[in-house]
Symmetry: C2
Subunit: 600 residues, 2 copies
């Protein structure tokens, strides 16, 4: 099992130095007294303790044992249930819950940081509470008061958990194709019938009841995405007092065999006249789901961050210990039979790549979640609109880019271990298997890329982008830099200007060649990711450099500046390739008919 320690020092840096969180949250009455250094640090320490001591030891066990299903009853791996009980006792499920229903009412930033640590120590386990969050936020946003009273209270306390039931075997990215039916009953409820697949945490033994949020079609609903409604379907029906009554008509008919996240139950759920309750307006189910989907995308981005961090930590420990060969520029450790492999350039390059991915991803995810909170907490329309716009732009970037970086970091982790990276006991290959789901679920990288370029950028006529690039230019105007930071700021300026130019080019292509826009989408997404990272790394470098100039002796800040330099020197040049491909001719992409792709 690779070593892991919660990166509290860096989390602290992002909270305080980068985001100035105390000042930020003090602006809003709901968060003012909650988001103090003292409280946040205490929560993070309790979470770290729990994750390192309870969840981390279950990570490899969960992978080996997986979940089992027999007659519809799903058993989670040894220790998962007990860990969940402890998690409930510690009060984590209620962290961000509405105070009216027993929640603690914390903003999402704190949950995001805690969920990074949860996922880092046990991805599969972390999905159970993760999915509950999705169900809670959907009911919170769209449920009636009665529904909130009935379902939200027990979800917030954690004695119940929740799921999101979207996918069907023929309908994944294209939810307009779903077939699950909802037929109205006399009593105002609905009978739900259909088969859902890929339902994470869809059935398990952790909680008394499971509240499914289900997409289905009303009779005579319009075809496609405009005919989908949203329903609450509990595993156990409730009696008039809200207590658990008879079993509802929803059964786990199978568990999927997957590449990773074995400890999470990925269920095929059969709904057979299951009793459901409409949530939100008829035929507006997909719109209601957007709240959840955006939250789920940020949650998935966090999973990418977790993989970057854990693969980094594992590889770093190994690279300091493992001896092989001598440094190319001369023996470094003459007392040992060989040098530790951290001296070798390709190994250092992989480790530093992982480091900039992990720390950059943390900065982006936490920065992004302040906008989730501002959109929620602010009463200033302009401020709220700005936050929502930033979220719309940055969510697909964070989701796709951070998960792809997680995949890359996991790969480097295995490479640093050499052949041992392929062996299960070292844990690096589990990270590589677990993280592979993250570029697939909640919309593949390719889907995010099309969402970003077509819906967000072109859909807003470029305005969403300008909102961010204005923020970056403002930062550049305020910071001229010194001999250390100026080279980074100047590279940031270049890449931002190029981002704007490339975007204008693409907008001009909309009228005459939409195919070229499609061809550019994935590279545009990567370019955007590296550009956003450049902004955050420049910001972090400026902050750290200021501390150094103020005379700090904390080596953390020296390392931060040096890591930022690595980003600008050895990672940002990747944009050269993406820029070229955004502008590349796409004729050859479309010239082959499907029949000409292969010849036997």
């Amino acid at each position: 099992m690779p070593s892991y320690t919660s990166p509290l020092r860096d989390i602290n840096f992002v909270f305080k130095d980068l985001l100035g969180f105390e000042k930020l949250y003090a602006k809003y009455p709901q968060s003012k007294d909650k988001m103090t250094s003292e409280i946040v640090e205490q929560y993070l320490e309790v979470a770290s303790d729990f994750c390192e001591n309870e969840l981390l030891p279950l990570n490899a066990i969960g992978d080996q044992q997986g979940c089992k299903v027999q007659n519809g009853i799903v058993t989670t791996p040894d220790g998962f249930k007990e860990a969940y009980q402890k998690y409930v006792e510690l009060g984590f499920p209620s962290l961000t819950g509405n105070e009216e229903y027993g929640g603690q009412g914390f903003p999402s930033l704190l949950w995001i940081a805690i969920s990074e640590i949860l996922t880092s120590t046990n991805w599969a386990w972390g999905m159970y509470p993760g999915l509950s969050h999705g169900a809670m936020s959907t009911i919170e946003s769209h449920g009636t008061d009665e529904q909130k009273e009935k379902y939200l209270t027990n979800l917030i306390s954690g004695i119940w958990t929740g799921t999101m039931c979207l996918t069907e075997s023929h309908a994944g990215s294209d939810l307009g194709l779903i077939r699950t039916k909802a037929v109205p009953n006399q009593d105002g409820s609905y009978s739900i019938t259909g088969e859902k697949i890929f339902i994470s945490a869809g059935e398990h033994d952790l909680s008394e009841n499971i509240i499914h949020i289900v997409l289905a079609r009303l009779p005579d609903a319009p075809l496609g995405t405009k005919g989908i409604s949203l329903f609450i379907v509990p595993k156990f029906n409730l009696d008039t007092d809200g207590n658990i009554a008879e079993r509802n008509g929803v059964v786990c008919s199978a568990l999927e065999h997957k590449m990773g996240i074995h400890g999470n139950a990925t269920c095929v759920l059969n709904f057979d006249n299951a009793k459901g309750f409409l949530i939100g307006p008829e035929n507006r189910g997909l719109n209601c789901m957007f709240t959840f989907m955006n939250a789920a995308r940020i949650g998935t981005a966090i999973q990418g961050l977790a993989a970057s961090e854990t693969a980094y930590q594992g590889a770093l420990t190994y690279a300091k210990e493992r001896l092989a060969m001598r440094s190319i520029s001369g023996i470094k450790n003459p007392d040992l039979p060989a040098d530790p492999i951290i001296v070798h350039a390709p190994v250092r390059n992989m480790l530093l790549t992982q480091k900039v991915f992990a720390e950059g991803s943390r900065a982006l995810a936490y920065y992004l979640s302040t906008y989730v909170d501002i959109a929620d907490l602010s009463t200033d329309e302009l401020e709220q609109k700005n936050a929502e716009d930033k979220l719309a732009l940055l969510t697909p970037i964070a989701k796709a880019f951070m998960t792809e970086l997680g995949v890359e970091s996991a790969k480097h982790g295995m490479q640093v271990f050499g052949g041992h990276g392929y062996i299960s006991e070292h844990g690096m290959e589990q990270i590589a298997r677990d993280v592979r789901i993250s570029t697939l679920y909640e919309g593949t990288t390719e889907i995010q890329a099309v969402d970003l370029l077509v819906r967000k950028i072109i859909g807003s006529k470029g305005n969403l982008l300008l909102l961010l690039t204005d923020e970056i230019k403002n930062f550049l105007n305020m910071n001229q830099g010194n001999n250390i930071t100026q080279p980074m700021l100047s590279k940031l300026e270049q890449v931002v200007n190029q981002w704007i130019d490339l975007t204008e080019d693409l907008q001009n292509k909309v009228t005459n060649n939409l195919d070229e826009v499609g061809a550019a989408a994935v590279d545009y997404l990567y370019f955007s990711g590296y550009a956003v990272f450049a902004y955050l790394w420049a910001k972090m470098a400026v902050i750290a450099q200021e501390k150094i100039e103020q005379g700090t002796k904390d080596e953390f800040y020296f390392a931060k500046v040096s890591t930022a330099q690595f980003y600008f020197e050895r990672i940002l040049p990747r944009t050269l390739m993406h820029a070229a491909l955004i502008q590349a001719n796409s004729d050859s992409l479309y010239s082959l008919s499907p029949e000409l792709f292969k010849f036997d």
Copy 2:
């Protein structure tokens, strides 16, 4: 399980159109009558039949069941043993074997093509005969006549198999650190004692006997790589007539739990005073291993090719069937509820990327193996030297680049499948797990990169590179191109000139900054890979375009030209990034001390 059909049409193109194999092999008396179209086609068809019908159905079974060990006895998955019997009956083990010892004496090109198909249909199974080839070629090159008589005959017939025992738990890439001891006995044999790990096919139930080739140290041998000798250690000792006698002191104490290739037994082998026989001169074991290691690297490159091809075929079939969304430029299939996903630019881009990887890798591997054969068959010193030099240069490129492309292709395969890519029954995730070993074993990508840049390029003062770039320039001089091929040829010319310039820059850095050379190695390797692919794709485009101009109606050639255009337009721009990184400042790579990498 993804669909797969042997790509005989493309193999045929590479053999005939690209390599002109009949004319090439007609030059040498040993291969003249063997390498005819008729014979080669017949062998490839028999191999395809066997692989598609016997090995492919065992691929998922092997992955699910894995190998089992009990009291040192290893059981392979259901059907593996029977398939091996059939393979022996068909005479495949003897294909390239020395005719004096019962072999068929074919050049390696034919074996390389067959092993592509073997690996494509069942990677784990294909490793058993693959390792035998390593043992055979080692004994063939360095064994005495008596050793050949005793061991080679039964290896060639296939009733025995072989292994290569190099790695120890603390010594992988750095074999100079191995500790296994060989103590001379009175009778001229040696007692071998030590533990070897990661021994593929180290113990199993496929064959009567297993011949281990083992690296060990003689008493008082010099430290490091110059004190390693090579031994033959049979699983069962032989009596004076060469028949199987008592069990030797080598036992499989455990099987590794791995990310993939579950059907292959990756053994921990304990040698406890096992009887061994010196092969080659004392303390020259590593030199003797180079023959094997180069062959093993080309074999691993083939595995990368196989992953590119199988992931491509699986994804292509799915992309034609799966319906989701409408094409960005308008509905393509109005009769269906959605368009097949092959219409979407990001999906097409992934499929064509896989296609250029698979076909380009095939071209490179087969081209490379003609040099293996020329080095072996030619009696012309100059021709032989040229072949050996090309091999020295191209082997690390092929090994590292083709396996990395295989990893990327497998990733695209999963992405095309969306969430279904993560589910075992579709088989795409198995390809992704299996292929991950290929960038690790036989020297990681990073090790190959250092071998290429430091040993081969700088070690030859750039001369090895010039040998290849002269060949490319010669090709460019002979082919001016037409309006279709000229843009590709001109891009090839640019990238080759840049390759030469970058190499000169790096050579100049050797005296003043070796660290910068190390920092550039991995990007130099990728740049080299894309440059070599540019050469081969240009050559294939020119050949196909000539056929078109000669009036062919075979759509294969039109598709080949179009695929080449895709390579030059949408893959080759990756060299921009690698060139920038080769030239990038590497200060930030070395500025952090190991202590400053992480803060808790």
